[in-house]
C-alpha cells in the first residue's frame, strides 16, 4: 500500500548523550511541531514540494537550529546562509548561497526554480534577486543569536573549524559557552501519487571562511530527488560533497536495485567517514529511512499508516 511519508532533520553530529534538558526539550518540541505541520499539509493534499518548503521555513525560523535565524557564524562574525530544493518527478531544482538578509533562504531557492532559467544564484546577486522579487529581508543581525556568538568565540579559541556538533573537551571555564548542538535542517516528502521533494538549508560551519560553500546548495551532495526517492543530508559538508551523498542514495536504487533503506545505509556506512554524516530519505513507495554515522541526529518522520518517530540518538 502506497501512502504519503515525510521525514525531517535538524542536523547530525556529536550530540552528547547527556545533553541538558533545557537544550534538548526545545529542539524535540520544534521537531514535533514541524512534523505535525508537514503531516497536516500532506493530509490536506499539498504537493510535496510545498510541504518540504514550508517545513524547512519553520525550521529556519526556529533559533535553535543552524539555518535562517540561529545560523552559525563565519570567521568574521557574519551569517552566510545557503539552501537548495529539488522536485523528484521533474528534477527541477534551485539553490542559493551567501545570503545575509533573506529571512527564508529555502523560499529564495524555490524562487530560483520558479522565476529563472538557472539553478544556482549566490551572494550579492542572490540578495539583489531577492529584493527584485519582494522577498522578505531583514537586517542581518536578526539571524545572530547569543549562543552562536559564544560558539564562534569558542571555536576561535580552539582555532579550528568546528562542525557545529563537535563537542570539544574545553577547559572548565569554556564549558558552558556553546554547546554546539545544532546543525543543518532538511525535509523530504512524498505523496500517495509518488511525487517527491527534498529541501535543505543551513548557516554552514562555525568559524567558516567567508565565502565557503558547503554541501547544502550542491545538488547531488546535500539535496537530491528523482522519480525514486528524495534525500536531504547533513554533517561535514566537505565529506558530503566528495561522497555525492544525496545522489548516491538514488543511484544505488537505480543502478544496483537496492531498496531505499539499503541504499541509504550503504552510503552512510561506505561513502563517507564515520562521524561525518546523516540523512533523511523517502521513496516513491512511501518508505522512510533516517540513517546516520554520528553520535546523533535530530530527526522526525511519519508515514500514512500511522507510524511516527521523533529522536536524537540511535534506537531512541
Amino acid at each position: 500500500m502506497v501512502g504519503w511519508a515525510i521525514a525531517l532533520h535538524g542536523g547530525a553530529g556529536d550530540i552528547p548523550i547527556d545533553l541538558p534538558d533545557e537544550r534538548r526539550i526545545p529542539r524535540e518540541t520544534a521537531l514535533r511541531h514541524c512534523l505535525d505541520l508537514g503531516v497536516s499539509a500532506l493530509k490536506s493534499g499539498k504537493p510535496p514540494l510545498d510541504v518540504a518548503e514550508l517545513v524547512v521555513r519553520e525550521l529556519e525560523n526556529h533559533p535553535d537550529f543552524n539555518a535562517g535565524k540561529g545560523s552559525v557564524l563565519t570567521t568574521q562574525g557574519t551569517v552566510e546562509m545557503e539552501a537548495s530544493i529539488m522536485e523528484g518527478k521533474t528534477k527541477r531544482c534551485g539553490a542559493v548561497s551567501g545570503l545575509t538578509t533573506v529571512v527564508n533562504p529555502i523560499s529564495l531557492a524555490r524562487l530560483v526554480v520558479e522565476k529563472t532559467p538557472h539553478i544556482y544564484l549566490a551572494f550579492d546577486a542572490a540578495e539583489a534577486f531577492a529584493r527584485a522579487h519582494g522577498v522578505e529581508t531583514v537586517d542581518s543581525s536578526h539571524f545572530i543569536t547569543p549562543e552562536n556568538i559564544a560558539r564562534l568565540k569558542q571555536a576561535k579559541e580552539f582555532n579550528r573549524v568546528q562542525l557545529d556538533y563537535t563537542a570539544p573537551t574545553p577547559p572548565k571555564e569554556l564549558e558552558n559557552c556553546g554547546d554546539s548542538q545544532i546543525g543543518t535542517v532538511g525535509c523530504v516528502a512524498v505523496d500517495s501519487a509518488g511525487n517527491l521533494a527534498s529541501a535543505t538549508s543551513t548557516g554552514g560551519y562555525v568559524n567558516k571562511m567567508v565565502g565557503r560553500i558547503g554541501d547544502t546548495p550542491v545538488i547531488g551532495a546535500g539535496t537530491y530527488a528523482n522519480h525514486l526517492c528524495a534525500v536531504s543530508a547533513t554533517g561535514k559538508g566537505e565529506e558530503i560533497i566528495r561522497g555525492t551523498v544525496a545522489r548516491d542514495v538514488a543511484a544505488l536504487m537505480e543502478y544496483k536495485g537496492l531498496s531505499l533503506t539499503e541504499a541509504a545505509a550503504y552510503v552512510v556506512d561506505q561513502s563517507v567517514p564515520r562521524g561525518s554524516c546523516g540523512l533523511v530519505a523517502v521513496s516513491a513507495n512511501g518508505e522512510v529511512t533516517m540513517p546516520f554515522n554520528t553520535t546523533g541526529m535530530f530527526r522526525a518522520c511519519a508515514t500514512e499508516d500511522g507510524y511516527s518517530e521523533i529522536a536524537i540518538w540511535p534506537n531512541n
Partner: protein
C-alpha cells in the same frame, strides 16, 4: 590497455557555420594543450598536476570560454568558476565568482590543498587568493573584443526572442535565424560553448579531472553553473575522471560527471558503456558533452550536442583532435 591517457575539451554545442579559420585555431589550441599534457605525462608528472597545467594553458589562451576570453555577464564583466578533483582520495576544490584571479583552476587547486574547505566563492575566494599570493589582474584582462561584440548580439537576440513584435530581420535577427539550433535558449551563433576541461589518468592509474569557465554569455551576475559543482561538471574517483560541458542546468540535474563513475561502480559498465549510457539516458531534453578517462588507460568522449571541441591521446600513440561527430 593500461598506460596514461589524456583528453581535453573546449566546449560542446558549436555553430555549424563556424568559420574555417576559427575551427583551425581551435584544433591548434587543443593540439598544443594535448602535447603539453603528453610531455608532462612522459616525465611522470601526476594526473592532478597535468590536469592543472593543461587547464591553465586553456584559461590563458583567449580562444575558449575560460580565463581570458571568458563569456561576459549581463554587465559586461567576467565572473569565472572552476573545479578540480583528484580521484585517488576523491579530494576536490572549487571556486565561483572569480573576477581577478588569472588562473581560476589553480585557485580551485589551492582550495583543495590549502584550505579546510572544498568550495570558496566571490569575495571570500578572492581574499583567499590574495593570501595565497596567486597572480591577480584587473577584470579587463579577461575581456576580449570578440566577446564584447558577442554580448551585444546576445542582448539583441534576447530582446528579439522575447519580443514577438520585432520582425526577425536586421543584423542580429539575421544571425539569429542563420541556424535554428539553440543552446541554453540562445541561438547557437551567439551562444558561447561553456567551458574547458581536462581529464587525465597517469602511468600509475591515478585519475583526475578539472573544468573551468566564464559561464553563459549575458548571464545574471551571481549565476553559478555546473562547472564548479562536484558531481555535475567535474568528478574523479579511483575508476575514472570526467569533465562535462554544455547546458549547465541539464548537467546539474543529471549529476552527469558523477553518474559516469556511478554506473561503472554500481552497474559494472566499462568506460565507453558508461559514457554512452549517461549521454543517452541522463540528459532528457538537454544538450551536453563530456570527456572521460579510466584507470585502465582508456579515454572516451561523448556528446549529444552539435559537436564538441575535443582532443585525446593515449600512451600507445593514439591521438585525435576533432570538432564534429
Amino acid at each position: 590497455m593500461g598506460g596514461w591517457a589524456i583528453a581535453v575539451h573546449g566546449g560542446a554545442g558549436i555553430d555549424p557555420n563556424l568559420p574555417a579559420e576559427r575551427q583551425e585555431e581551435a584544433k591548434q589550441l587543443l593540439t598544443r594543450c594535448l602535447n603539453l599534457g603528453i610531455v608532462a605525462l612522459r616525465s611522470n608528472v601526476s594526473a592532478i598536476d597535468v590536469v592543472e597545467l593543461v587547464i591553465r594553458e586553456l584559461e590563458t589562451d583567449p580562444l575558449f570560454n575560460s580565463g581570458r576570453g571568458s563569456a561576459l555577464t549581463e554587465k559586461g564583466t567576467v565572473e569565472m568558476e572552476a573545479s578540480i578533483m583528484d580521484g585517488t582520495k576523491r579530494r576536490c576544490g572549487a571556486v565561483s565568482g572569480i573576477t581577478t584571479v588569472k588562473n581560476p583552476i589553480s585557485l580551485a587547486r589551492l582550495v583543495m590543498d590549502k584550505s579546510p574547505h572544498s568550495y570558496l566563492a566571490f569575495s571570500g575566494a578572492e581574499d583567499f587568493a590574495r593570501k595565497q599570493g596567486v597572480e591577480i589582474v584587473d577584470n579587463d584582462y579577461f575581456v576580449t573584443d570578440d566577446n564584447v561584440g558577442m554580448l551585444k548580439l546576445a542582448k539583441e537576440a534576447n530582446s528579439i526572442l522575447f519580443d514577438y513584435r520585432i520582425p526577425p530581420m536586421g543584423c542580429a535577427g539575421a544571425a539569429a535565424t542563420d541556424s535554428p539550433i539553440q543552446m541554453n535558449g540562445l541561438p547557437i551563433s551567439i551562444y558561447a560553448p561553456e567551458t574547458v576541461g581536462c581529464v587525465v589518468v597517469d602511468g600509475e592509474g591515478r585519475c583526475a579531472a578539472g573544468t573551468s569557465t566564464g559561464g553563459l554569455m549575458n548571464k545574471m551576475m551571481g549565476r553559478i553553473g555546473d562547472s564548479p559543482l562536484i558531481g555535475a561538471g567535474t568528478y574523479a574517483s579511483e575508476l575514472c575522471g570526467v569533465s562535462c560541458t554544455g547546458e549547465g542546468e541539464a548537467i546539474i540535474r543529471a549529476t552527469l560527471a558523477r553518474d559516469v563513475s556511478a554506473v561503472m561502480e554500481y552497474k559494472g559498465l566499462n568506460l565507453q558503456e558508461a559514457v554512452d549510457y549517461v549521454i543517452k539516458h541522463r540528459l532528457d531534453e538537454g544538450f551536453a558533452g563530456l570527456i572521460a578517462v579510466s584507470n585502465k588507460g582508456e579515454v572516451v568522449c561523448g556528446f549529444n550536442s552539435n559537436g564538441m571541441f575535443r582532443g585525446c591521446a593515449t600512451e600507445d600513440g593514439f591521438m585525435e583532435v576533432a570538432i564534429w561527430e
